[in-house]
Subunit: 361 residues, 3 copies
C-alpha cells in the first residue's frame, strides 16, 4: 500500500492523498485490498432487478459493485458503449439537481439515452394521472426507470403496473438506496478493510450519525445498509433532536440485528470519539423541506478526532461549515465524486450489460 | 387468420390474445390482412409535411402509416439509425408526461436527437416572446417541431415564421392528431377489416364516444379522423353532458359527410349496443383542466356487450375503473403501447428517412 | 465581392441578399474579405478557458471565432463528431428558451451530449444548496458548464469550486457575452471591413444603442465588446430613458477608452443618422422582467437611414414592430440564425476539439 501525500497539502493521518478539496481517494487501493476476480455471477444476478430499498443490496453485492465502480473510475469504458441502445427514464416528481444529473451523466457517459421528467407539476399528474398508469406507459417507452417522489408509497404505486427495473432515487421519508451505495462505496475506498469479515480491531470504526433516520431517507438508507457492515462498526451513535429518532420499525430492525445504537441529544461529548461522522439536516415533510438537527454544527474548530472523516449527502446549509472543506476531515467531496461511478456500475448490471465491459482479471 | 388464446387468461371473443393487462394485439394480423407492398410513394409524399389537424391524414395514409408502424413493432430498426443527424424540438407549453415522453422515446430509439421545452413558464414567453418569433428561432435550431400549447390558435401563430415540419401535440380545445392516429392504428390492429372499403356487415362497428368533442381535442380528432372510416361505422353515438357537444363547425362537418351522429345524455340504454367505446373526461379550459362527463362511469360490472373494447387516451380519473384493466374490454393499454410505434412511422416519413428502413415486401 | 439581389425582394443598398425574412447573410463574404488561414494557435489558446464576461474575448479572437463560425455555416461537420464523448451541462436558473435551446442544439449537432437544468426552482437550490456546492458537484458530471442565473454574482459563486470551463449565458444585470459574440459575428458577416484595422471612412458606422446598458446585460456586453471595434465606430449614441444609463463602472471604462458616447433621451433626432441600431427593451429586475425604454419604438415608417440595419437579441415586445420583419432593415433574424454557429465555434475551442475539424486553408 502506497502512502502518497500531495505537496501542497494537509498531511492527513491516513494512507491517502489530501489537498485543498479534502481527501482524494485512490480507487486502486480498494482493488489492491480485495484482489480477487470480480464475481460476475453475482453482478449478473442483478439483471432486471429493482433497487427500491437497501434490502436489494447485500454486503457482498455492495463490495462487488464498489470494486466494479473502482474499475470504472480507473478505466475509460465509453469506447465499449456499454448502454448503447438502452433508454433510461428519469422521473423526478420531487426537486433534485444532484441526483438527477448524476444519474443522467452516468447513463450518457455510457452511451445510453435519457428521457426526463424534471418537474412533476408539469405532467399528466396535473390531470389526475395515477402512478400506476404512468408505470404502464413507461413500459412502452424505456428500459429502466429512475424515480423520485415526495410520497413514501410512490414506489409501490408505480410498481403495480411497471415491468421495468426501478431505481428509487428518493421516496418521501422512505429510502434513498443509491445514496447509501455511494456512501459505502466511498467508505470502502477510504478504508478497504471495512469489507473484510474479520478485520483488525484498529480498522473498526466508531460511527456517529447526526440526523434523524425516521425523517431523513438518506440517513435511514445509510444506517440500514450499514447493518450489513456491522462487524466493522465498534459503535453506532445517533445524534438527534428527537427522543426517538428511529420509529418503531427501524428500532425493531436494529434490535433484531443486535445493534446497540446509542442515541444522544448533544453532540459535544461524543464527537471526539467518532471515526466516521455521517451528517444530514434536511428532512422532507409534506412536500417541502424542513431543516432539522441544525443545532448540531460542525466547523473547522469542532473537537474532531484526528483522522476522523465526515460524510454528507449534500445539499448542506449551516450545519457543515465551509471551513471544513479544506481539511483532511472532508470526505464529502470525495463522496460526491463517487456517485457517478457507483451508479454506472449499478446501471450496467441492472440493464444486463456487464458483458460489454472488459473487466480486469 | 390465427386464433390464439393465451392460457392464463380471459378468453375474449375475438381472434386475439388477452391476458391480465387486457388485449394483446399482434401487429402481424394487420399485415396479413393487408398484404400488399407498402405504398412508399404515398409515405414519401409526407416528407416535410406538417400535421396540425387530422386533415393532413387520409384514410389511405392512416392505413399505410399503420402498416409501417406494424412493421416497426415487429422489426428491430435501430441498427439502421433512421433519424441519425436529425434534431427534433419538443416544445410543451402545456402539461404533459405521456405525449412528450412518447415522442422523445420514439425519436431517441431511432437515433435522432431531442431538445426540449418541458415547461412553457420557464421560457422567453415569460418575457413576452411571441410564438411567431419562437418559430423563427426554431428554424435555425432543429429539423422538426412537436408542440403542445394551451391556446387553440398557437399552431397558426408559430407557423407564421416556422419553416420546419410541425406536429401538433395538442392545442387548447383544437386537435391532437397523433393521438387520433394512435387510436385508429390500435383499432386497425384489433380489427384489420375496418380499413377494407367493402367490409362484411359483421365487421362493422357501433361506435360510442363518451365525451364532448367541442371541449376535448382528443375526442374531436378521433371523431374527425373517424370520418374517413365511416364506411366501417354502423352507427356513431356521442354520450355527453352537453345538449350540443359538437359546436357549429364540427356539426356542419358531420352533416356534410352524411354522418348521422346520435347524441344521448344517458349512457345506460346505449352502452350494451357499442362495439367500440371511446372515452375521455378531461377538458382543458382556460389553461387548467376541468373534468367533464364524469357521471358516465365504466366499471367491470357495466353492461358491456361481449367483445366490446374500450379506448381511452388517458390520463383517467374515476370514469374508467381500474377493475376493467384485467378484462378483455381493455384495449386502452394496447392503445398506450401503440403510441411510440405509430409516432416513429410518422416521424420517419416527415423527416424523409423512409429509405433508411428496409421495409418488408 | 458579388452583389446578389434575390428576385422576389426588396433591393437593399448593400451587397447582400434580402428577402421577406430580412437580410440573408452569406458567410463566404466574411471569409473572402479576410482570406488568411485560420489562426489555430489563437483558437487553441481558448482550450479550457471560461467566458464569463466579454473580457475573455479580444478583437482578434472575435474575428477568428467568426471566421471559424462562417466555415461551420458553410460545411457539414457532423460527420467528424467534433464533440463526441463530451458532456455539457446547461444550468438555467433563470427563464430561457432561445439561449438554452441554441446552446443545446449547438452541442447535439456536434455529437456532444447534454444534461440540463431547465428550471432552478426544481433543484437542490430549493433545499438551500449553494452554487459553490453545485460547482463541486458539476466537476464530476460533465466537461463544460453553461449557466444562466438571476443573480449577478452567481458566476463568481459557482467558480469557487467549479474546475470546468464556464460559459455565462446571462447573469442578472451582469453580462451575456455569447450574445455579444453573436451580435458582432452578425455585424462582421454584414460588413466584413469592420474587422479591418484601417478601414475606409465609408465603411465606418454610426451606432445607435436603444436601451440601458446598466440594467440590460445584452446591451452591456454588446457595448463592451464593441469597444474592441471602436476604430470602426464613427459615433456611438445611447438612447435611454435614464439620465445616466451606464453606471459608474461602465462610464469610467468608456472614458478610459476615449470613447465619446452621446446619451439622448429622444430617438427622433438621431435615428436618421444611425447605420446600425441595437435595440433591447427588457431588463431583469429582482428575478422578474421589467420593460424599459418602451417608448422608443421602431416600425416600418420610422425615419431610418437607407441601408440602416437593426439588431435585437429578442424576445421583443412592441418596441420593434413586426412590420419591419419584411424590410432590408431586418438584420435581427439573420442575427438569430447566427447564434448556433458562433456558439459551436466557441464550444469546439473551449473543449479542445479544434483538431477534429478539417478547417479550410
Amino acid at each position: 500500500m502506497v502512502i502518497e501525500l500531495a505537496k501542497d497539502i494537509y498531511s492527513g493521518p491516513g494512507p491517502y492523498k489530501v489537498n485543498s478539496r479534502g481527501i482524494l481517494l485512490d480507487p486502486q487501493r480498494l482493488l489492491d485490498a480485495h484482489p480477487s476476480r470480480l464475481d460476475r455471477r453475482l453482478l449478473e444476478g442483478l439483471h432486471h432487478q429493482s433497487v427500491v430499498t437497501v434490502d436489494a443490496l447485500s454486503r457482498r453485492s455492495v463490495l462487488e459493485l464498489s470494486r466494479f465502480a473502482a474499475q470504472l473510475e480507473l478505466t475509460e469504458v465509453s469506447a465499449h458503449h456499454p448502454l448503447d441502445g438502452k433508454l433510461v427514464i428519469t422521473a423526478f416528481f420531487e426537486a433534485s439537481t444532484r441526483t438527477r444529473l448524476s444519474f443522467e451523466a452516468a447513463v450518457l457517459r455510457l452511451d445510453g439515452k435519457v428521457v426526463s421528467v424534471q418537474d412533476g407539476r408539469m405532467t399528466g399528474v396535473a390531470k389526475g394521472e395515477s402512478l400506476a398508469d404512468i408505470g404502464e406507459m413507461f413500459n412502452t417507452y424505456g428500459d429502466l426507470v429512475i424515480m423520485r417522489h415526495t410520497d413514501t408509497d410512490a414506489m409501490d404505486r408505480i410498481r403495480r403496473n411497471l415491468q421495468l427495473p426501478l431505481i428509487n432515487a428518493g421516496n418521501g421519508t422512505g429510502e434513498h438506496p443509491t445514496q447509501a451505495l455511494t456512501d459505502w462505496y466511498t467508505l470502502l475506498k477510504w478504508r478497504p478493510a471495512l469489507a473484510t469479515p474479520a478485520l483488525a480491531e484498529t480498522d473498526r470504526v466508531d460511527l456517529g450519525v447526526v440526523g434523524t433516520p425516521m425523517s431523513m431517507r438518506a440517513v435511514k438508507s445509510f444506517l440500514r445498509l450499514g447493518l450489513t457492515f456491522r462487524h466493522a462498526l465498534r459503535s453506532v451513535t445517533v445524534v438527534s433532536e428527537m427522543a426517538d429518532p428511529f420509529g418503531a420499525e427501524l428500532r425493531d430492525e436494529l434490535e433484531s440485528h443486535g445493534i446497540d445504537v446509542r442515541v444522544v441529544h448533544d453532540i459535544k461529548e461524543s464527537l471526539p470519539s467518532f471515526d466516521v461522522i455521517y451528517m444530514n439536516s434536511i428532512a422532507l415533510l409534506g412536500g417541502s423541506y424542513r431543516q432539522m438537527d441544525s443545532r448540531f454544527k460542525l466547523h473547522a474548530k469542532s473537537p474532531l478526532k484526528p483522522g476522523a472523516v465526515i460524510l454528507h449527502p449534500l445539499a448542506r446549509r449551516e450545519e457543515l461549515d465551509r471551513g471544513l472543506d479544506e481539511t483532511p476531515h472532508n470526505l464529502y467531496f470525495a463522496q460526491a465524486a463517487s456517485a457517478v461511478f457507483i451508479r454506472q456500475a449499478l446501471l450496467i448490471c441492472l440493464l444486463g450489460r456487464l458483458d460489454r465491459i472488459p473487466t480486469r482479471s
